[in-house]
C-alpha cells in the first residue's frame, strides 16, 4: 500500500480548484479559459488518484478497511474523532463513480455553461461539491461523513439557486435545503444513539462491535437505523421528503445530472450500504426501507407519466430509481443496491446530459428568434432526431438501460433487486408485494421513458417554423462525455454479470469484505433454475411491453405545442399536478408554520415580548425612574443644602453609633 495513503489528494485537488475558481469568480469572472482548465483539470487529477487507489486495492485487496487519519478533530473527553479517511472496496467504487462521472459532467459543463456570466462561480461550486462528496464517501466515521453530508447539501442549495435572480429558483434552493435539514436531524439523532451504545463513532469499530453490543432486532438498533433512514429519505428524496428533488431541476442541467441524479442523491443508499451490519440486525427497519423504496419507486413513476418538462420526467425517474436502490438495500442485497447506484449514475447522467444538450439547442433556437416559449417543454420539441442524431442515439441507449432491456446495464442491476425482493418473499411475504410494486414501477418506467423519447425526438417537429432552422447538434465538448457515458450505460452490466449471462458476479466478490458481516444475519438465497428464468423473462417482457406501449400511445396521438395544448383533466391532471402533494404539504405544514412564525413568534414573542417587554420595557423603566429622580433636582441651592445636611447628619449618626 504505497499509493493509497495519497487518497487525500483526491479531496485536496478539487478543494484547490474551488479556491482558485472562487478567487477568479470574485476577481476576474471573464477568465473562462483559466476556469475551464482548472475546474476540469483538478477533477481529472482526482479521477487519476481514484484510479490509482482502485488499482492498488485490486492488486492487494485488504480484508479490513484502511483508515488514514489526517488529524485529531474532536478530542473531547471520552469522544475521540479523528479527521480520517477510510479506503475499502465500497468507498473505492464510490470514488470512481464520483470522480469519473464528475469529470465527464465537468467537461460537458464547459460547453453547456460557456455563455453564462457566472461561469467561474459555477465551476467553483461544482468543485466544492466534489470536495464534500468525496469527504462523504471517504469519511471513516459518522461525523466526518456528516461534514460531507451537510456540505453536499450546501452545494446543492447553491447550485439549484444558481440563477438566483428568478425567485422560483431561489425558492427551489431553499426548499431543497430545508427538506434536507429535516433528514439531517435524523442523522444527528442516530449519531447520538450510536455514541450512547458504542462510545465511538468510527465506522470500523461500530461495525465490528455491533453484533456483540446490540441485540438483533432490539429497540436500540431499530431506532438507530430508522433515524439513519430518515436522513436517507431527505438526502435521497424518498417518501415523504422527496418533493425537493423535482424542484431542484431549477438549477443548470449538468448540476441535475451530477448532484441530483448520479452522486449526491445516492448518498443515502451509500449510507445504508456502509452501515449494512446495523440494517441487517434490524429486520423491521430493513422492511421499512424496502417498503418505502418500493412505494417511492411506484409513486414517482406514476407522476413521471404526465410531466411535460423533460427534466421533470427525469427528476421523477430519479426519485423512482432511488426507490429501487432502497428496495435493494432494504432487501439486504447491499451489493445489488450499489450496483444499481453505479449503473444508474451512468445512464441517468447520460439522460440528463442528453436532455441538457436538447435544452441547449432549443434555447438557442428560441433565443435566435426572440421567441418566449418554454425550451424544456417536450410538447415544443418533437422530431429532434433529425437535428441531433448523436444525442438521440445515446439517449436511446440510456432509455433501453433504464427500461431494463438486456444487455444494457440497467437490466442487470434492476433484475437483481427485483429477483432478491421476490426471493425474500419466501420468508417475509410482504416482500412479494414489494416485488409487485417494483415490477409495476418497471413497467411505468419503460412507458414514461418511451413517451419522453417519442415526444422529444420522434414524430413531427413542433418547435416552430422559424426556430427550426436554428436547431443543431451540441458541440464536441458536450457530445464527447455523452459518448463515454453511452458506452458505460451499455456495458456497465459487466460489473456484476450474473451466472446465467456467463458472468461471475464481480461486484459481489469485490464488495464481499464489506458485506460479509451483514450476511451473517440475513442471507438472501437468489432464485435459480426455472424461477430465475421466469423472473428474468418477466422483467424483460415488462420492459419491452412498457416501451412498446409508450411509443405507440405517444406517437398514435397528435401532440400540440405547449401554447395550443388543451389543459389536462381527470387522472391526467392529478398526475400532472403530482397528486397535489406539494399543495398538501403547503396546507398542512408550510402555512401553519408560517402562520405560527408570523403571528405567534414574530408579532407575539419577538415584537411583543422581546422587543416590547424586554428591550423597550427596560428603557421605559429607566426613563420612569430617571423622571422620578429628576424631581429632586429643583435647582434651588437651599434644597440641596438641606438634603446634604440631612445626609451628613445621618452618616454622622451611623458613625457615632
Amino acid at each position: 500500500m504505497t499509493f493509497t495513503p495519497l487518497v487525500w489528494l483526491a479531496v485536496a485537488l478539487p478543494l484547490a480548484g474551488f479556491l482558485v475558481n472562487g478567487a477568479l469568480a470574485l476577481g476576474r469572472p471573464r477568465a473562462k479559459g483559466a476556469v475551464s482548465v482548472v475546474g476540469t483539470g483538478v477533477l481529472l487529477g482526482a479521477f487519476a488518484v481514484s484510479l490509482g487507489v482502485f488499482v492498488e486495492l485490486l492488486r492487494t485487496p485488504p480484508h479490513a478497511p484502511l483508515v488514514l487519519s489526517l488529524w485529531s478533530w474532536i478530542p473531547a473527553g471520552r469522544l475521540e474523532v479523528d479527521f480520517a479517511f477510510q479506503v475499502d472496496q465500497l468507498s473505492a467504487v464510490m470514488l470512481l463513480v464520483v470522480t469519473g462521472v464528475g469529470s465527464l459532467i465537468h467537461l460537458f459543463s464547459v460547453g453547456y455553461m460557456r455563455e453564462d456570466p457566472g461561469y467561474a462561480r459555477y465551476f467553483a461550486y461544482l468543485n466544492l461539491f466534489i470536495v464534500f462528496m468525496l469527504v462523504l464517501v471517504l469519511g471513516a466515521s459518522f461525523p466526518v461523513m456528516f461534514i460531507g453530508w451537510e456540505g453536499v447539501g450546501l452545494c446543492s442549495y447553491l447550485l439549484i439557486g444558481f440563477w438566483f435572480t428568478e425567485k422560483a429558483n431561489a425558492d427551489a434552493g431553499k426548499k431543497a435545503f430545508i427538506m434536507n435539514r429535516i433528514g439531517d436531524f435524523g442523522f444527528l439523532v442516530a449519531m447520538f444513539f450510536l455514541y450512547r451504545a458504542f462510545g465511538t463513532l468510527d465506522f470500523a469499530e461500530v461495525m465490528v462491535r455491533a453484533p456483540s453490543t446490540l441485540e438483533v432486532g432490539g429497540a436500540a438498533v431499530t431506532a438507530i437505523t430508522l433515524f439513519l433512514f430518515l436522513g436517507c429519505t431527505g438526502k435521497s428524496a424518498q417518501i415523504p421528503l422527496y418533493t425537493w428533488l423535482p424542484d431542484a431541476m431549477a438549477g443548470p442541467t449538468p448540476v441535475s445530472a451530477l448532484i441530483h441524479a448520479a452522486t449526491m442523491v445516492t448518498a443515502g443508499v451509500y449510507l445504508v450500504a456502509r452501515t449494512n451490519v446495523l440494517f441487517a440486525m434490524a429486520p423491521v427497519s430493513s422492511t421499512i426501507v424496502a417498503g418505502i423504496g418500493a412505494l417511492t419507486a411506484l409513486f414517482a413513476a406514476t407522476i413521471g407519466l404526465k410531466q411535460y418538462d423533460i427534466k421533470k420526467v427525469l427528476a421523477y425517474s430519479t426519485v423512482s430509481q432511488l426507490g429501487y436502490m432502497f428496495l435493494g438495500v432494504g432487501t439486504a442485497v447491499y451489493v445489488s443496491g450499489m450496483f444499481h447506484l453505479v449503473t444508474h449514475a451512468f445512464f441517468k447522467a447520460l439522460l440528463f446530459l442528453g436532455s441538457g444538450s436538447v435544452i441547449h439547442a432549443m434555447h438557442h433556437a428560441y433565443h435566435a428568434t426572440h421567441a418566449h416559449e418554454d425550451a424544456q417543454d417536450m410538447r415544443n420539441m418533437g422530431g429532434l432526431k433529425r437535428y441531433m442524431p448523436v444525442t438521440f442515439w445515446l439517449m436511446l441507449i440510456a432509455t433501453l438501460a433504464i427500461a431494463g432491456i438486456p444487455p444494457f446495464s440497467g437490466f442487470f442491476s434492476k433484475d437483481e433487486i427485483l429477483a432478491a425482493a421476490f426471493a425474500r418473499g419466501a420468508d417475509t411475504p410482504v416482500y412479494y408485494l414489494f416485488y409487485a410494486m417494483g415490477a409495476a414501477a418497471a413497467f411505468l418506467t419503460a412507458f414514461y421513458m418511451a413517451r419522453l423519447m417519442a415526444l422529444t425526438f420522434l414524430g413531427e417537429n413542433r418547435t416552430g417554423e422559424r426556430e427550426r432552422a436554428h436547431l443543431h447538434e451540441a458541440p464536441g465538448i458536450m457530445t464527447g462525455p455523452l459518448v463515454v457515458l453511452g458506452v458505460l450505460s451499455a456495458i456497465g452490466g459487466v460489473l456484476n454479470l450474473p451466472a446465467f449471462a456467463g458472468g461471475s458476479h464481480l461486484l459481489d466478490h469485490w464488495l464481499e469484505p464489506v458485506t460479509a458481516a451483514a450476511s451473517r444475519f440475513v442471507r438472501v438465497e437468489m432464485p435459480h433454475g426455472p424461477a430465475e428464468l421466469f423472473l428474468v423473462g418477466g422483467a424483460v417482457a415488462i420492459g419491452a411491453i412498457g416501451l412498446l406501449l409508450g411509443f405507440r400511445a405517444t406517437l398514435g396521438r397528435r401532440t400540440l405545442p405547449a401554447r395550443e395544448a388543451p389543459a389536462d383533466s381527470g387522472l391526467g391532471l392529478v398526475l400532472n399536478r403530482k397528486y397535489y402533494v406539494d399543495e398538501l404539504y403547503d396546507a398542512v405544514i408550510v402555512r401553519p408554520t408560517v402562520w405560527l412564525s408570523r403571528v405567534i413568534l414574530w408579532r407575539g414573542v419577538d415584537q411583543g415580548v422581546v422587543d416590547g417587554a424586554a428591550v423597550n420595557g427596560t428603557a421605559k423603566l429607566s426613563q420612569g425612574l430617571g423622571w422620578l429622580g429628576s424631581r429632586l433636582q429643583t435647582g434651588q441651592v437651599g434644597v440641596y443644602v438641606v438634603l446634604f445636611l440631612v445626609g451628613a447628619l445621618w452618616v454622622l449618626r451611623a458613625v457615632i453609633r
Binding site: 429622580g629 424631581r631 433636582q633 429643583t634 437651599g638
Partner: protein, 103 residues
C-alpha cells in the same frame, strides 16, 4: 496647664454655636454673598475646634487649621469671582432666581 484645659469646653461650645449660626444662615438666607459669609463662618468654627482640641491631641490639629485657611482663601477668591459673574449675567445674586440646574 490646668487653665488651658478648662478653656476646652467653652471653646468647643463657641465653635458649635458659630457652626450652627453658619448652617442656619446658609439654609435661611437667599443672598449669595451672605451665604458665602456663612460658609466662612462654618469653616472658622471648625478651625476653632481644631485649635482647641490640638491641646489634647498634639500639633496636627493646628497644622490642619493652616490648610483650612489656605483653602478658604482660594475658595473665597473663586467663589466671589463666580458670584460676580452671576451678577453680571443676571443683575442679581438672589439664589431663588438662580435655578438653571433643575431637572
Amino acid at each position: 496647664m490646668p487653665e488651658s484645659v478648662s478653656l476646652l469646653g467653652p471653646s468647643l461650645g463657641l465653635s458649635a454655636i458659630l457652626f450652627t449660626l453658619g448652617v442656619a444662615g446658609v439654609l435661611l438666607r437667599r443672598n449669595a454673598i451672605v451665604l458665602f459669609v456663612c460658609i466662612e463662618l462654618m469653616l472658622n468654627a471648625v478651625n476653632l475646634s481644631f485649635v482647641a482640641l490640638a491641646q489634647l491631641h498634639g500639633a496636627s490639629g493646628q497644622l490642619m487649621v493652616f490648610f483650612v485657611m489656605t483653602v478658604a482663601a482660594a475658595e473665597a477668591a473663586v467663589g466671589l469671582a463666580i458670584i460676580l459673574a452671576i451678577f453680571r449675567h443676571k443683575q442679581t445674586v438672589d439664589l431663588q432666581n438662580i435655578n438653571l440646574l433643575k431637572g
